[in-house]
């Protein structure tokens, strides 16, 4: 499928999934499951950092508009987009990313996904929860929030990939 069409569909689906389902899931202890970072993560490799950040900003604003956070999600999405190329460069395989078409668990392997997505998610969540409360005396509470939310967001993203991304390697 055309990459533009595919990503447009993803844009809408991820935003709706986050806004209508995950934003209402509030099990307590500040646990906040976020799926939308996966959209930014799964954008094509070839995209430059500047268009990536602009797209993430727009996407974050859409999420903001659903959760009444006025720019908080946009800021977190932009910081994730900014660090994506840096993390990718660190973790680049021996022969680079040229032969890879899409960013997912199957094309890159589980270990790479864990390191790359895990660290980006961590950056994103740290930024999000720190800016959200922005008070030093809530430090431990912020740590609890991050510690609970990062693994759950990661597991959900993994699950979404297993269910919805087709395993192209096996087909070939």
């Amino acid at each position: 499928m055309n990459s533009f069409v595919l990503n447009s569909i993803r844009f809408v689906l991820f935003a709706l999934f986050q806004a209508l389902i995950l934003n209402n899931l509030e099990p307590g202890l500040g646990l906040y499951v976020m799926i939308y970072p996966l959209f930014i993560f799964m954008l094509p490799f070839q995209m430059g950092t500047v268009p990536l950040m602009l797209l993430s900003f727009a996407f974050g604003l859409v999420i903001d508009s659903f959760s009444n956070t006025f720019g908080l999600h946009a800021s977190s999405a932009v910081i994730m987009a900014f660090f994506r190329p840096i993390i990718f460069k660190w973790l680049s395989p021996r022969d680079g990313y040229e032969s890879v078409e899409s960013v997912n668990v199957y094309s890159m392997g589980g270990r790479w996904f864990l390191y790359a997505y895990g660290s980006l998610l961590l950056i994103h969540h740290i930024w999000f929860f720190t800016i959200e409360s922005f008070k030093l005396n809530e430090f431990i509470w912020i740590l609890i929030k991050i510690g609970l939310s990062v693994p759950s967001s990661f597991l959900l993203s993994l699950l979404v990939q297993f269910i919805f991304v087709s395993n192209k390697k096996a087909v070939r």
Partner: protein, 282 residues
């Protein structure tokens, strides 16, 4: 000049990054208003419609509980309807009319989206500018205080609930009358804090907390909650009071928006108080 262009080209990515961060964060920390337009919130038409669709599905799961709550409230209101029980002379009614002028008007609304687990929690309700709602009006439910209208759209509005930073509802004890400000530390959506009560005032556990009605947003006597814990702050002559709030924000579905008819008069009068000179010098 060439150096300058080369500089911009080299740091292009970082500059765009900084620009976007400034745009997003300034909106979040209230320096600019661009993301606070109602288009970017759940008060906008599209988002409101979407949430309403979701709510029309989700509300059926709580139907039984909601029914019971409304039945209880109906029963309570029926008890107050003395006119339907006794026959009262016409003169008495006239006396009541001249003695009491209605100050607070209520409008019912249903909650179509709300959160209780974030640092600042907002609620979207299904009435807006078309129904005459204005920013700053109080919102209560049948159980107690809910929040303050924060953004107003054409037919939806966003309410900032008491589970927020700097909400500062002025509350007082039902017995004794000591008053302070209601705050929330962001941890437990059932527990709020009251600050500003001096610790030489004796306050018992399980004292009922009600609104003070000082700022004219809520009438006096709306229930807020019950004191559950009390200890004194170290180094300050103040109580640290924990309040179990009356409203359960996890199941809230119906609220009332309050209009104070005399709010303008109150504000005008309080605006005439001369400002504190000592604070200006500091």
């Amino acid at each position: 000049m060439r150096n300058l262009i080369a500089f911009f080209k080299r740091f292009q990515i970082f500059l765009v990054f900084v620009l976007l961060q400034v745009a997003a964060l300034s909106a979040y920390i209230r320096y600019s208003e661009f993301a606070r337009l109602q288009v970017f919130s759940s008060a906008s038409q599209i988002n409101g419609r979407l949430f309403e669709m979701r709510n029309s599905v989700a509300k059926h799961f709580n139907l039984e509980g909601t029914n019971r709550k409304l039945e209880l409230e109906n029963a309570r209101l029926r008890e107050k309807l003395k006119l339907s029980n006794y026959k009262i002379d016409r003169e008495l009614i006239q006396i009541e009319d001249t003695n009491y002028q209605q100050q607070y008007l209520y409008m019912a609304a249903s909650v179509i989206n709300n959160t209780y687990d974030k640092r600042n929690n907002y609620m979207t309700i299904d009435i807006g500018k078309n129904h005459g709602i204005q920013k700053g009006w109080g919102v209560i439910s049948s159980k107690g205080v809910v929040g303050i209208v924060h953004l107003v759209g054409e037919s939806y509005s966003v309410v900032k609930t008491i589970l927020s930073k700097n909400i500062n509802v002025d509350v007082s004890m039902r017995d004794g009358g000591a008053f302070g400000l209601l705050k929330w530390d962001g941890i437990n959506p059932k527990i709020c804090q009251i600050s500003g009560i001096s610790n030489d005032i004796s306050i018992k556990k399980f004292t009922k907390v009600i609104t003070r009605g000082g700022s004219g947003i809520y009438p006096k006597g709306i229930p807020v909650g019950v004191i559950t814990k009390r200890k004194s702050i170290e180094g300050k002559p103040l109580w640290d009071l924990q309040v179990r709030i009356a409203e359960d924000f996890r199941t809230i579905q119906h609220v009332y928006v309050i209009k104070n008819v005399m709010l303008d008069e109150l504000r005008e009068l309080e605006g005439k108080i001369p400002p504190d000179k000592e604070e200006d010098e500091l």
